[in-house]
Symmetry: C2
Subunit: 240 residues, 2 copies
């Protein structure tokens, strides 16, 4: 019997929060469909948002359909997926730690997003550029060193080279994506921090070389970073 297919529902033209799920599905070797990138798929996503499926309607993409189940919220999707794709150890205490790290990454991602949208998601960047400049400066100089310093310390304390120590997990994939996104959005700020995040950079490189991730990144399934996405490169928001 073939393994059930996972169906990911996410916006078809951005990496966004869906990318954390895509990376897990790819590394887990899952049979999956990125529904909104198939014909008629975006309409299905919209219909699911309006509550066409039974059970709990999602508040926002990404969400995952697996058989009868529909699960939303990136960290909850990964909590559900990771054991099924062997991307986290069996031990419950370790799983709780992995989830805790994923939620802290989610906080960092939300702040990275708000650095270019500090006033409202409904407004264009150009309509909140002044506020974005102000928020980004605090983000770059206070929040980014704090978050990245924390994750660097996590690797140091577990002995590394992974966030959970020697065992690779889905949280490494998410950290990899956050590192790439931050380097895309704030190349100068990240360069300034580089000596303080050696372990994070080594982990980023190690994940990029995992065969399934390397194949994914080279495929047309991987969308390029762009300025409609979560991580945006606006030079005026980066360090000088």
């Amino acid at each position: 019997m073939p393994r059930p297919t996972f169906e990911l529902f996410y916006w078809p033209s951005i990496q966004g929060r869906g990318e954390f799920v895509r990376l897990a599905l790819e590394e887990g070797g899952a049979r999956y469909v990125d529904v909104a990138r198939t014909p008629g798929g975006l309409a299905e996503l919209t219909s699911m948002m309006r509550g066409s499926a039974k059970g709990l309607a999602p508040f926002a993409p990404p969400f995952l359909r697996h058989g009868d189940r529909v699960i939303a919220q990136t960290a909850a999707i990964l909590l559900y997926l990771a054991p099924r794709l062997a991307l986290v150890p069996k031990d419950e205490a370790i799983r709780v730690h992995a989830h805790q790290l994923q939620l802290t990454l989610a906080d960092l991602v939300a702040e990275a997003h708000d650095s270019h949208h500090p006033i409202a998601v409904s407004l264009y960047y150009e309509d909140q550029r002044r506020e974005a400049r102000r928020r980004s400066e605090h983000f770059r100089t206070e929040r980014l060193p704090k978050f990245l310093g924390y994750f660097e310390q996590v690797i140091e304390r577990t002995g590394g080279p992974r966030l959970l120590g020697r065992t690779p997990s889905y949280v490494d994939l998410s950290l990899f994506q956050v590192m790439l996104g931050l380097e895309y959005a704030f190349p100068r700020a990240l360069a300034k921090l580089s000596r303080r995040i050696r372990r994070l950079r080594a982990l980023r490189d190690a994940v990029a070389e995992q065969p399934r991730i390397a194949a994914y990144l080279a495929s047309d399934r991987r969308l390029p970073f762009n300025e409609d996405d979560l991580f945006r490169h606006y030079p005026e928001l980066d360090a000088r």
Copy 2:
């Protein structure tokens, strides 16, 4: 043998995100200590943040110590606590749904916070008042109706009167806290929405009448809302 004591670590003078954990501990009838509100407790919290305990250091309060375990991130703490306090059904699919709702509440809470701190947590409100006014208007008129409309619909679709249908759960307690916080911070905006959130208001009232919650709210363990907290009442940020 007495049940092990849960130790909550959170700032001693605000409700904040710790309140979601306090409400669960209270409703669950747990033996717990609110460590930072005991002599020497705040110093212990600070020391734990610096990594004095073994294992993963928390990124930020709240965090929970249970025996050898230290768990941070509000939603992860509740995911861990709820089954141990019989605040969620055993069925895995329902637990995933509950967690998903909790994470969506966390998103709403983060946006409520940023309505008065849109630029930086390190700045006073007074130093970002203009931006706060702008962000709050979008929050009140776009985000708040969207989030509350979503939760109202969740209750409607499950048949109610609770978020998970007939079964009370920890997510109801968190929603209760969010409702009270929003009514404190934005009384006029909430009044305008009141006819569209009848089920949410009924749920808020039902939770307030649960004997353990009522006893907690009447005790000095319940801190008052205040303007150093997550939910702040600044009349200029509310609807006209």
